[in-house]
């Protein structure tokens, strides 16, 4: 006798229940690992990463993010949390002093945290990635030949164009070393765990494709020779830039878009219904990387000197020629032959999504470099705007804070422009790793929307006021609105 599945009523767990997700998210955050920290860097402890969980109860993830809102605080928080959940799948060990970190180790991989993360993860994925469906449409009768022509055209276009906006932003920055370090920090989130997301597709049983993907993974892992493993090579790049080399030392300085890109590859690797999408995404990444790594090596030499160790980048200029070819000839083409041309839209979707996210991340990085460089100019905007507030011409909502020496505001972003005014004391307003603007009593600064920043108090006490001014340009115009 055949037994048909009978649905439990009510279900044991209703995974579509937003309130269940919300409760699980708040409970997920109830861990010492994720609370605010008094230090900017995480010192060789891959389990501790501040998520600002006290804010979770105020965040709304019930509706998917729109592209316009990709860099908001909600998005930053969702991305930090999602990456943490993904990385609970990976083995992470500190370089030293494991014994002192054993409690954190056990907590990070605890059943409690893993189970809560399993409920939270799909909601955050839906929240963060649904916008891609609206941004890209793929229609028409795609065939293996048209796909090949399109990919060939893409590869040719990369060979023709030598421009790289991120590298240009670094070289044009008023503090090139800082801009270059900020860039390396963005890469470090992914590169120190390089190919871990790819490794998610290694297990299983899927014929010759599996062996072909494995060959690429073998390259990434340096054929088992630790000195040639790509993440080891990247540690040397970090060292050349004067940066710490342990995973997520600079957790607080990852831009929202850098986290988003990292999460994207984990999303595709973790959800095996997106296997073909993953193939398109890695074809895009491997092909683009040939050229961008050449530009990155040039930038590193220009900023840190000719002797700097850039083998990570030169290795990719070489090996990604092979990987690009291997992904197309040994993975995509055989997949089409075996599984039919019906998988082409998914392959193209992965390719297009990876390209779009790369562009968004590049722009976000360039904007952050400008933001850091422009801090003195933004400080100079404080007096005229604050004068309008004092005169009553502007009436923005405000919040006052009183904080003691050493109080650290974990890096975050605001969804609109804000004016920070120091009532008394001294604040170091932080716009990146080891970069800050000193704000004394009576001074202040315009905080641009979506720009990552933090602060630390450098006096016995500091009282400051945050005015939510919306758009600082409107505040400066003569016809500024009264109630903001």
């Amino acid at each position: 006798m055949k037994h048909s599945p009978v649905k439990s009523s009510p279900p044991a767990i209703d995974l579509e229940d937003y309130n269940l997700f919300r409760r699980c998210l708040i409970q997920y955050g109830e861990s010492e690992l994720f609370t605010d920290t008094e230090e900017w860097l995480s010192h060789d402890n891959p389990y501790r990463r501040t998520l600002r969980p006290h804010v979770f109860k105020h965040l709304d993830y019930s509706r998917p993010l729109r592209r316009e809102d990709l860099l908001t605080y909600n998005s930053l928080s969702a991305n930090r949390t999602l990456l943490t959940i993904y990385e609970q799948d990976f083995v992470l060990l500190p370089d030293r002093d494991f014994e002192a970190k054993q409690t954190d180790f056990k907590e990070f991989y605890s059943n409690r945290s893993i189970a809560l993360g399993a409920v939270v993860r799909p909601w955050l994925e839906r929240y963060l990635f649904s916008f891609l469906d609206k941004e890209i449409s793929i229609t028409g009768g795609w065939t293996a030949d048209t796909l090949k022509a399109y990919f060939q055209d893409f590869a040719d276009s990369l060979r023709r164009s030598a421009s790289n906006k991120a590298m240009e932003a670094i070289l044009a920055s008023s503090n090139r070393e800082h801009a270059a370090r900020t860039f390396l920090i963005q890469l470090a989130g992914d590169f120190l765990l390089e190919a871990s997301a790819m490794g998610r597709n290694i297990l299983g049983h899927y014929g010759p494709l599996q062996s072909e993907l494995f060959k690429i993974v073998i390259d990434e892992y340096g054929y088992g020779v630790h000195e040639t493993k790509h993440s080891t090579l990247f540690r040397k790049v970090l060292s050349a830039g004067g940066l710490a080399q342990t995973p997520h030392a600079y957790w607080q300085f990852y831009l929202t878009s850098s986290l988003l890109v990292n999460n994207y590859y984990n999303w595709l690797g973790r959800d095996h219904t997106k296997f073909f999408r993953y193939l398109g995404a890695i074809f895009q990444a491997e092909t683009t990387f040939i050229h961008s790594c050449a530009r990155m090596a040039e930038m590193m030499r220009a900023v840190f000197g000719r002797e700097v160790d850039v083998r990570y980048f030169t290795e990719h200029v070489h090996i990604d020629h092979h990987h690009s070819r291997m992904v197309f000839e040994k993975l995509i083409a055989p997949a089409l032959a075996t599984h039919g041309e019906g998988i082409i839209p998914e392959i193209l979707r992965g390719f297009e999504e990876a390209a779009l996210l790369g562009q968004l991340a590049e722009q976000d990085f360039c904007d952050q470099v400008s933001w850091s460089d422009d801090n003195q100019a933004l400080k100079a905007l404080h007096p005229p705007i604050h004068a309008k507030i004092l005169s009553g011409e502007l009436q923005p909502s405000r919040q006052q804070f009183i904080e003691p020496r050493g109080e650290l505001s974990v890096t975050h972003v605001h969804d609109g422009d804000e004016l920070c005014h120091i009532n008394s004391g001294v604040m170091h307003f932080v716009t990146g790793h080891e970069r800050h603007t000193v704000l004394n009593a009576g001074e202040g600064i315009v905080i641009r929307r979506n720009r990552l920043h933090g602060a630390i108090i450098d006096s016995e006490q500091c009282t400051y006021t945050i005015h939510s001014i919306g758009d600082h340009r409107k505040c400066l115009s003569s016809a500024s609105t009264h109630a903001l």
Binding site: R67, E135, I136, S137, I138, T139, G140, G141, W142, T143, D145, T146, L147, A149, Y150, Q152, D153, L348, E352, L356
Partner: protein, 117 residues
């Protein structure tokens, strides 16, 4: 095969290798780049009328009814992003592509039915 990039906000019609194409945008659906020639006598389908309810496009010459599912099946391979699009057209790679913006009548909500056949 020519791989042709264009801005879908300013281009909705193109010609290449003796063939004509236009961008068919249906409400709530992904845009399609379809052949402009009616399979009956080659009438300009971009000047036809859409019957959204019947899922048909009516050719302006003889009111030939063409099912949208047929247009969907025979549409050109197309990717549309927010401000750019790319299509792979049939023919040799160096075939020139002439892109234009034209008045399209085959757009919703034009749903007037043609009389006769």
């Amino acid at each position: 095969m020519p791989v042709f990039g264009f801005d879908p906000r300013s281009v909705n019609y193109m010609e290449a290798d003796g063939n004509r194409y236009f961008l068919l945008s249906l409400e709530g659906k992904a845009p399609l780049l379809v052949r402009d020639e009616c399979p009956h006598r080659g009438g300009p389908l971009h000047l036809g009328q859409l019957d959204v309810a019947a899922e048909e496009l009516h050719c302006p010459w003889h009111c030939q009814r063409i099912a949208l599912r047929h247009l969907r099946r025979s549409a050109m391979p197309l990717i549309v992003r927010r401000d750019s699009a790319v299509v792979v057209l049939p023919g040799a790679g160096d075939v020139p592509v002439r892109a234009q913006r034209r008045v399209l009548l085959a757009v919703p909500p034009a749903q007037q039915r043609c009389e006769g056949n």
